[in-house]
């Protein structure tokens, strides 16, 4: 992380990255969202964002932040308001109220946005009759980047061989890679990706995961990636923001979310009858599942192991049951 901090030192949100890395006193609590810690200037900040389309409140008071050097998953079922949030953040949609800032500023006020933010929205936003290279060169021209960046970015996403081909013949996966290449053109420090795994085959998803981790953890970029399929991002993200019907329902680290503050330890003991009361004495809530098998709340696996050792009770099994993330996701986002 030290290397990341050095790399980021010239960036406006470098301070945020360093604060996040060493956990120094620069951190402060965000008063509007209990439990959230934000830096002095996060790479992405969303405050009380509201956007309605006619009678539908697509986004209803969403707030969260994304720090440099981390991947944040923005999760929710289809129609939850993920895309609208990202489009507000990118200046494409005007919010009714609230703020959406990149590097402390609204996207529309960035003078060279491609060099600060790389965005991947729908995979269909290409002219089918134009070649991949020309698509990127047009963006380079408008952004004042050298035309050579087009081929470099195509090579980075593994599309060098298709550079001169019309997008018409591209598979969905190739279009996703081309969209990612467009995001890479200006070598930005912030990436905003809307459902980037859509249409990718398993190998493509694996490649994307590695790529996003590389951007965040090795290049110190802030990555915000939305998905409605949890398993796509589960192995990639550091932090999770969950939205359902326009409202933020949960945010935190992946670990916080799965442990859910109520971790359960499953203990299989030869002499469970003796171990149970001992665990209760130590403050655990013990549930007897079946003969010789207990489920304990309020104690860690290590604590349970130590108590068993003290009592000289032989254990057959000692497992910290992590709540299944998919189940948490469904519980949080289903109709209530």
């Amino acid at each position: 992380m030290a290397a990341v901090a050095v790399l980021l030192i010239t960036r406006p949100w470098g301070a945020a990255a360093r604060a996040g890395a060493d956990g120094s006193s620069l951190k402060r609590r965000n008063p509007s969202v209990p439990g959230t810690i934000i830096g002095p200037m996060a790479a992405i900040e969303i405050h009380d964002l509201v956007k309605s389309f006619g009678p539908v409140r697509a986004v209803d008071g969403v707030s969260f932040t994304v720090e440099a050097g981390s991947v944040t998953g923005y999760l929710g079922p289809n129609g939850a308001g993920k895309t609208t949030t990202l489009r507000c953040l990118l200046g494409l949609v005007a919010p009714d109220s609230g703020r959406a800032l990149v590097g402390g500023r609204p996207y529309a006020s960035l003078t060279a946005p491609l060099t600060e933010v790389g965005a991947v929205l729908e995979a269909t936003s290409f002219h089918p009759g134009r070649t991949a290279r020309n698509h990127l060169r047009i963006l380079c021209t408008a952004a004042g980047l050298p035309q050579s960046r087009a081929d470099e970015a195509l090579a980075q996403v593994g599309l060098a061989d298709a550079a001169g081909k019309r997008v018409l013949g591209f598979s969905l996966g190739m279009r996703q890679r081309l969209a990612l290449a467009a995001a890479l053109l200006g070598r930005p420090r912030v990436y905003i990706l809307d459902e980037p795994a859509n249409g990718l085959d398993p190998a493509g998803i694996e490649w994307l995961r590695g790529f996003l981790r590389h951007l965040a953890h090795e290049q110190g970029a802030a990555v915000l990636v939305s998905s409605h399929v949890l398993s796509e991002v589960e192995q990639t993200v550091d932090n999770v923001v969950i939205i359902a019907r326009g409202r933020l329902v949960r945010q935190g680290t992946l670990t916080e979310l799965t442990s859910n503050g109520r971790s359960v330890v499953r203990v299989g003991a030869v002499n469970a009858a003796e171990l149970g009361p001992a665990l209760e004495t130590a403050g655990g809530a013990v549930e007897r599942v079946e003969d010789g098998l207990l489920r304990v709340r309020g104690l860690t696996a290590e604590e349970v192991g130590r108590i068993a050792l003290d009592r000289r009770v032989a254990l057959r099994e000692l497992v910290e049951e992590r709540t299944d993330l998919q189940k948490v996701f469904l519980d949080l986002t289903e109709e209530r």
């Binding site: 609208t84 933010v117 002219h127 009759g129 963006l139 021209t141």
Partner: protein
């Protein structure tokens, strides 16, 4: 700003559309010129049709036939704008340049440049057909006697204006097919009716086609009597007014709209 105009021209010239439209336009005008050459001086039922090929009037008429290419420049303008919505490339455009007014201004200026390039292609085609046709029939090709400088200026102005008209229409309608159908109906039905039928000409002379004819001094009798046109300077002012109107429509409809 020049970077944005170059990007817009790059968009135009990296798909096949421009040369398909250019080819269709040149074929269309070649067809009109062919009729003008074949029917010159021919009398129909005792009445004179077109002037003879060796008259300055014929050269002016043939030169002005290039204005029939404006429909293809209109379509070019429509597609320049609607393709962005149809293929959602407008998202990438506004992500690259979030300040939308410069994008619209660059598109309008690129449209003017493309319109003028099409106009130049038309003038070249006319030069290589009309000049030999006049000389071969024993006439003297005299640009001044045929008012060709003015017709040429009017043609170029009309091509630039109709490109703007197309972009404005595309920004307003956004559905590519509907906008193209609208442009064709406007050009071939509404403007034709209002500029050809004498009773409607007081209205027609204020439409873009009537104003362009005034600027080109195309006040020749094509069978329905001399059209009642504005003076040339009036035509120029009306065309400039339309250009501003279409530019305003294009920016007003694009700058504030949510891109979803």
């Amino acid at each position: 700003m020049t970077a944005l105009i170059r990007a817009e021209l790059q968009k135009l010239f990296t798909t096949r559309l421009w040369w398909v439209l250019l080819l269709v336009m040149l074929l269309l005008i070649a067809l009109f010129l062919g009729f003008a050459i074949a029917l010159a001086g021919v009398t129909q039922n005792g009445a004179a049709g077109l002037p003879a090929r060796d008259t300055p009037q014929w050269a002016q008429l043939a030169w002005g036939s290039g204005s029939s290419g404006t429909i293809l420049v209109t379509i070019l303008g429509v597609v320049m704008m609607t393709a962005e919505y149809r293929y959602q490339t407008i998202t990438g455009t506004f992500l690259t340049t979030p300040r939308r007014f410069p994008v619209v201004a660059a598109k309008l200026l690129a449209g003017v440049i493309a319109g003028l390039l099409f106009g130049v292609a038309v003038l070249l085609l006319e030069a290589v057909t009309v000049i030999p046709a006049v000389i071969l029939s024993g006439g003297t090709f005299s640009p001044s006697a045929s008012h060709l400088p003015q017709t040429t200026a009017g043609l170029l102005a009309a091509f630039a204006l109709y490109a703007l008209f197309g972009i404005g229409l595309g920004a307003l309608v956004r559905n590519q097919v509907a906008a193209i159908v609208g442009a064709v109906v406007w050009t071939y039905v509404i403007e034709q009716i209002f500029t050809a039928i004498p009773v409607l000409q007081p209205v027609g002379r204020w439409l873009p086609a009537g104003a362009a004819q005034a600027l080109m001094r195309m006040d020749l009798d094509a069978g329905l009597g001399r059209p009642d046109l504005l003076p040339a300077w009036g035509g120029a002012l009306v065309l400039a007014g339309y250009a501003l109107l279409f530019a305003a429509v294009a920016s007003a409809t694009t700058v504030r709209r949510d891109i979803t």
